[in-house]
Amino acid sequence: MEPTTLTMGTTPDVAAAAGNQSLHDEPVSATVDVRAGRSPSQVAWERVRQDKVAVVSFAIVALFILVAIFADLLVKLEGETLNVYHPELISPLNTFPTIGITPEHWFGVEPRTGRDLFAVWAFGARPSLIIGFTAATFSTVIGIIMGLAAGYLGGTVDKVITWIIDTLLSLPFLLMVLALVPVIQKRFTAPGQVLTAEETSGIRFWVLIGILVFFGWIGLARLIRGEVLSLREREFVQAAKVIGVPTRQILFREILPNLVGPIIVSASIAVPAYISAEAALSYLGAGLVEPTPSWGRTVSNAQNSYARYPLFLWPPVVSIALLVLALSLLGESIRDAFDPNTRR
């Protein structure tokens, strides 16, 4: 490998640049160049692995994902099942549980019903995570494609997409969701059919994802459109055109890699935002319904009793806060790792 730049020899630039130009932008690497022979993404992942914050954040996110996947197993390990009620553990005087944390009920039981709260928490992770990640994936992909198309193709395509974005932005999100959820739910219900609670939750689950995606892509699309407008005038894009690189390759190989930063930041904000949105909508009654557990609804139910029985409230609240924080930090560190300009 190349120990110092002085041995390059064939580069008359180096001597001159050392004399005349600022030294810092020279590839002066007195240390051995460890990057040789590895792809840029390998280098980036190596950097993520060396970042302690990223590793801890990843561990936290992974932990919650594992809880969601193995909810059945964990609850079985506790020796409980989700929909078993324990009225014997409820005080008949004030409907609060008579127990706290016990070996049988790790997070205690639900006030009034006596449901095991660990089971509620473990199964509640599922809708939160699935809605968060699915909606973030779809809205990011749609946002990227719309933003690239509007920014690079310009003209009519740009006008149409910008018009759609402006229209969606002008709609009040929360009111629209509260109004749309029952309307869409009705569309999927046969006339005269009475939905069971599970069916309602099942429909609302997909309706929520759909609505979050429908309103979620516009922010990223606008961001990407603006970036593309400036990138397409850069000389490296012109150079690619002169070489004859097809438009699709210019978009995805030349321009898109330069947008990794905003995309990762946006996606890593989107996942926690959708998890909170699901929680908020379930809290407001437009989300999932009993008996399907969800962190948001648990928080909603727990608010009346948290002074007397805080065990009801804390598990979902701490989980949502931790997950949101970990995802944001992880996104930040992945973005840094992929940026060659922050590399030393």
Binding site: T10, D13, A16, A17, F236, A240, V242, I243, P340
Partner: protein
């Protein structure tokens, strides 16, 4: 290797063959919208207005003129980054002015471009290896051996082939420009259009990049259209020189004629504006022509001769009749001037830097 200290015979004896590129009556207008008072006004910027020239195989044409005179637009039309408003661009006899992108693609191999700003012309997210193998991949060259070819190209432009996994941000301006040159050479082009390739570099590095270009030209038999506003660089590098003013060519001819016996007042003014190192050394300053004011707007160019508003020789005929670009008495072969009152001035000499 390719850095011979001076290329005294650039593209020697290349004038004989049939023209490689012919530009005929090239016109490029841009539509602009401006707010004037309360109304929106549609205007056209006449960036390039009817220019004609040609270059032969192996020849180097210099294109000079002040900022905004349309030289870059000419280069962008030839590389078809812009589609000309009218006129013909013939490459080996084939008109490419309106060719759709699909049919243009094989021809893109032949005409390549070197850009002005080495900090913007390389994708910051791609390694040098990826940058150099993109043209190979697009044109199906060196299949399976892209990396070896990319390293060969790095060596050709005087960079260390070991640095193939580095990013552009790890190189200096001069080294980046070398990478840009290597990218242009990757597809083995016949013509390279260099749009002010050294004006963003500092002077010592300019000389090295210029020497690299002249070495490559001799080695690979390239033709160049070389755009610059530095007359010294053009003199060092070109066989022929075309001087542009406000979208028109005002004088075109062989280098010795343009530098030794310029006839158009604008050419004379440009030459006289170049700083003379001998004055610093104590020689008495020569006669100096000073142009006053800015060039007129290309949205509404002056009638007749476009230079008349700043010309010290302007008379009534200049406002009413546009002077054609034609041979004038006293000019050399193929030396054409667009002026009603041409006059040879030979004492205005631009110094060669470096």
């Amino acid at each position: 290797m390719t850095t011979s200290p001076s290329a005294t015979q650039p593209g020697a004896g290349a004038r004989a063959g049939e023209p490689l590129i012919e530009i005929e009556h090239l016109v490029k207008y841009f539509a602009v919208r401006e707010v004037q008072g309360l109304t929106m006004v549609r205007n056209t910027v006449k960036a390039v207005d009817d220019i004609t020239f040609s270059i032969a195989d192996g020849e180097t044409l210099g294109l000079v003129g002040e900022s905004g005179c349309g030289k870059s637009t000419v280069s962008r039309c030839i590389t078809r980054l812009e589609t000309p408003t009218s006129g013909a661009i013939r490459y080996r006899g084939r008109d490419i002015a309106n060719l759709p992108e699909k049919q243009l693609r094989p021809l893109r191999r032949e005409i390549q471009m070197i850009f002005q700003d080495p900090y913007s012309s390389l994708n910051p997210r791609q390694t040098v290896g990826a940058i150099l193998s993109t043209p190979l991949r697009v044109h199906g060259l060196a299949k399976g051996k892209e990396k070896a070819r990319a390293q060969e190209l790095l060596e050709l432009v005087g960079l260390n082939p070991e640095h193939i996994n580095r990013y552009p941000s790890e190189f200096s301006g001069g080294q980046r420009q070398r990478i840009g040159i290597a990218r242009a050479l990757a597809v083995e082009p016949k013509v390279i259009i260099a749009d002010e390739p050294v004006s963003a570099l500092d002077v010592s590095v300019q000389a090295q990049v210029m020497n690299l270009l002249s070495g490559l030209r001799a080695e690979l038999g390239l033709s160049f259209i070389f755009i610059a506003h530095d007359l010294g660089v053009i003199r060092h590098f070109c066989d022929r020189v075309a001087v542009m003013y406000l979208g028109k060519i005002v004088e075109i001819g062989d280098k010795p004629h343009i530098y030794g016996a310029p006839q158009h007042p604008y050419t004379q003014a440009l030459l006289s504006a170049a700083p003379d190192i001998n004055v610093v050394r104590g020689a008495p300053p020569k006669e100096r022509i000073r142009l006053v004011g800015d060039p007129p707007s290309p949205i509404d160019p002056p009638s007749g001769c476009r230079f008349r508003t700043r010309c010290w020789k302007a008379q009534d005929i200049c406002a009413s009749q546009e002077p054609p670009l034609e041979d004038k008495p006293g000019g050399g072969d193929d030396h054409r001037i667009a002026c009603h009152f041409p006059e040879i001035k030979s004492t205005l000499v631009a110094a060669v830097p470096g």
